[in-house]
Amino acid sequence: MTERVYTKEEWIRGLEGLREDYTLFVPVKDGDFHAFMPMNGEKVPDFDFQNTRLSPKSVIYPRSERLFEYILGNADPEANILKESSKDFSPRAIVGIRPCDAQAFQIVRRNFDNPEYRDPWWVRHFESTTLVGLGCNEPCSTCFCTAVGGGPFHEDGLDALVFDLGERYLIKGLTDKGEAFLAKMNGGKPADEAVLKAAEDLTASASQKITSSPPTDPLKGKKINDLFNAPFWEEVAFGCLNCGTCTYLCPTCWCFDVQDEVLGKEGDRIRNWDSCMFPLFTLHGSGHNPRDKKVQRVRQRFMHKLKYYVDKYDNGVQCSGCGRCVRYCPVNIDIRDVCERMNNY
């Protein structure tokens, strides 16, 4: 396992040097918040951030993705055939991804890459991406990663992890992908004992800063039907606007909607993010909608995350505790509160 120390300037220079080998996605300050954007020499990476507004899921799973395309006509021999769109699967790296968001990819992976079903685009994007995490020195009060099996310096799901030690960064390679990334990166010195000790202390102190931790273990023992018919859903759902903020900001929401867009003699099949909060999500062709009430949709979101997923994959909840939905829900529906209610029911 490689462990190297960089000064902050060295680190940025090292990343610059990697731009030939990788498309680097780095946190960039964009107006009021941070977003992962490709490092292109113009935008300055800013690693002094709490977390990005939108999760980095869009790097692997874009909000709209062209899957197939066709053209009509007689002149072109390639015409009249529905072809898979060409995609860029060259190596990418998300640098500065928080451990919770990296863990989220593992959660989503169970859905997109399992023995029954394998999503070729998601898997190839995921495999070509190196996740270089940045531990959280100062977790937010809304974070609850420790409650869902993660932590501010959790290593699962990451290829390398960076510790921010004030003046310097310590970077640890964790997987082959991470080691390859480090091998290509210039600069840095091998880490000494003092630095490793500092990193350990940081990890311990950060975990203690996580204040909210709704237990998720009791969920497994509950009966689905009991929770489904619980009386509290009406109350939880009352304020809900049925907007897509929670699902679109969530790093573990994976639902999509495939749309055909036809324009004259050409057309595309596009996969877009969809949200279980929208009535259209479950609308049948017949006009029937099995989830046409707000309360049914809100229940679906929480039941899926906190119960169905738990039962199906037996691998914890479908939530990485990043706290985005808690912070940005316009009507303050708090998943921690809902989880408590489900626990106590």
Binding site: S64, E261, L263, D268, I270
Partner: protein, 56 residues
């Protein structure tokens, strides 16, 4: 409608409304000429046209 379209940047000469009775063939021709002239003067539209989606 016209006000908001122009506000978001569609040129004023692109959208026209008129009121012509079925007996007013001459007015129809007049208005048709004006409309065509104004739109031609603006050249081809470039804005608000749905092209192939700009997606990944």
């Amino acid at each position: 409608m016209k006000g908001l379209l122009e506000h978001v940047g569609v040129e004023p000469g692109r959208l026209h409304f008129s009121w012509i009775s079925s007996a007013e063939a001459t007015k129809f021709v007049d208005v048709a000429n004006t409309v065509a002239k104004e739109v031609k003067a603006l050249g081809p539209a470039r804005y608000f046209i749905k092209k192939r989606a700009e997606v990944a």
